[in-house]
Amino acid sequence: MTTKERESNFLSGTSKFRLWMYQHSKTLRQIGLVVLQIALTVFMFTFLIPTLWMVVSSLKASTEIFSHPIVWIPKDPQWRNYVRAFQELPLERFAWNSFVVVVGAVVGTVISSALVGFSFARLRWPGRDFLFSLVVATLLLPGVVLLIPRFVIFRNLDWINTYLPLIVPFWLGGSPFYIFLMRQFIRGLPKELDDAALIDGANRFQIFARIILPLCKPVIATVTVFSLLEHYNAFLEPLIYLNSMDMWTLPIGIRGLNDAYAANWELVFAASTVMMIPMVLLFIFAQRYFVRGIATTGLKG
């Protein structure tokens, strides 16, 4: 009899079980891990399948989409669906509109939030702390409260049905979140850099443009990527400000397609796939800034 067995003779049933658990804890943990690994993988696939199904369906003949059982590999891929989607609707026009709005708004967001963030982070001036608390307060402000007057303002400026309402506010520091991010990041940069440049005779703008901005690359990347996503997906504001079809951005246009061709799922799916592609590419190339940016870099292990 080994010591272990002798010990176990003195123990009650549950304790024996616990001892057994203890003796086999390593194996048990490994089994648990394998189960977890498999469960997560399965779950992840259920997460991704809807998207995959849409992409596959965009290549099907309309009879195949909802057929029983699900067709995963279309017999005869209908690339024509894409051609038809472009023919039925001015998708390329929507894409161009989206492009203009997104580029305009993102560039404005980056520039204005960097300038404003720098002022909040680096310069001392009366009223700064009060204004910064206003920036923080606007973070929690529900946007709809501003919707009606903004619409009236833009209408009086004759900006309805132009790109301007979707771009100009972002050149004027319209994104408190990004101002906040910029300020936090710039505050973390060593102040000695500014002082050294100041002694060398640089003015504040030179300090900003030549020293701070180049060091801000990581935060600029983050702001760019996230505001890109935000503006590309924007729905409510374009819906209000753009009423004529040739000014529609992709989300509004594709919703219109869904309205008009509700029965033609393959066209709707083809157009949606087209709309999704840039974001998927962005995700693949800028993944670092999404996932690692959120989850780990700030935490150092």
Partner: protein
């Protein structure tokens, strides 16, 4: 995707807050996550102002003057934008709410006092839309939250293979545009032919008509919302990774089991992140619009079951051109959100724990 950009950003703010604290302050401060920026930034600002003796403006050195001039130059875009697109609109909304402003005939606008607010009390759609919003929030917030936390805990497992792969791929659907997402799910949840119901049919359950039933539309919306859980998962994950290992080691020596460790260490330590996400989700419920609009073509159907507060406001203001009335609705929304935020913040003293401060 669906829990909107605010959630997306929550992750970032968390990151930068931690970054900042990490690089400048003592080690123990790391776990004071996000709401710091909402509470202390403002509080600290006020405190700083009191502490600093005000110098007379006339005595300022030329260097200071120049610095201030530059500062105002840098800040000017925001000030113009804030005045033109935030402050004036808020006040204008209030002013409009006392009129019958209609953009088609703006010259006929008259002051009608509190009549819009009177209408609001008797308008059954307002009550309906509030109920829809509340019903959705009550279902969505706990489910989404439990799900996000569960996923974060699982993905946080040290021994898991391909951790970053899981994180990336679970995050992925958050990238899919709302409109595309809504269309995908409209297909997937299709009554007879959508494969959710086909799957349920295989195990002998007759699937409901998800999107056309006043009962099943909420679970359907929550389910679709779960698809965009990536941001929540990542912020919670960041919170979990911020909990110092020593705490668990100490607890283990004291004989605490896994469940106890979770309740007495993990939960208090990540409570700031929980608090922050809760605030955002609550405000998010009152901002809910895109998905309901795309899925049901803005009708609010079935039978007003997706007539969210925001959608009702939008229809009044932009479909029926009742902008005066819409403005009154907007102000009521503002007050509701304000009250909820204040309630949450005042409750936070009781359950949100900031390490390094002791219990407040």
């Amino acid at each position: 995707m669906f829990p909107n950009t605010a959630l997306t950003l929550s992750g970032l703010i968390l990151q930068f807050e931690l970054d900042d604290v990490d690089s400048t302050n003592a080690y123990g401060e790391c776990y004071r996550a996000v709401p710091v920026f909402l509470e202390s930034e403002v509080v600290m600002a006020a405190a700083n102002r009191e502490a600093k003796p005000q110098r007379k403006r006339a005595n300022l050195s030329p260097l200071t003057r120049r610095r201030e001039r530059w500062a105002y130059f840098f800040i000017s875009p925001w000030i113009i934008g804030f005045l033109a697109f935030t402050l004036i609109p808020i006040l204008a909304t209030l002013a409009f709410s006392f009129t019958d402003y209609n953009p088609v005939v703006p010259e006929e606008t008259t002051f009608i006092g509190l009549r819009n607010y009177g209408t609001l009390l008797t308008d059954s759609k307002v009550g309906t839309s509030l109920m829809v919003t509340v019903r959705y929030a009550i279902l969505a917030i706990p489910v989404t939250f439990a799900f996000g936390l569960g996923l974060a805990l699982l993905v946080n497992n040290k021994h898991l293979l391909g951790k970053s792969g899981f994180r990336t791929l679970f995050y992925m659907p958050s990238m899919i545009p709302v409109v595309a997402g809504a269309l995908i799910w409209a297909g997937v949840m299709n009554t007879q032919t959508g494969w959710v119901n086909l799957g349920l049919g295989l195990v002998g359950i007759k699937g409901p008509d998800w999107l056309n039933s006043t009962r099943w539309i909420y679970p359907a919306l929550v389910l679709i919302g779960l698809w965009g859980i990536g941001n929540l998962m990542l912020t919670l994950l960041a919170g979990l990774q911020g909990v110092p290992n020593e705490l668990y080691e100490a607890a283990e020596i004291d004989g605490a089991n896994q469940a106890q460790q979770f309740w007495y260490i993990t939960m208090p330590m990540i409570s700031p992140v929980i608090f922050y996400n809760l605030t955002l989700m609550l405000i998010g419920a009152f901002k809910y619009f895109d998905l309901a609009y795309v899925l049901k073509n803005g009708t609010g159907g079935p039978v007003d079951a997706t007539l969210f507060y925001n959608l009702n406001l939008f229809k009044n203001a932009f479909n029926y051109n009742l902008m005066g009335y819409g403005s009154a609705l907007a102000w009521v929304l503002l007050v509701i959100v304000l009250v909820l935020t204040i309630l949450l913040f005042s409750s936070s003293n009781r359950w949100v724990y900031y390490a390094g401060e002791g219990k407040k």
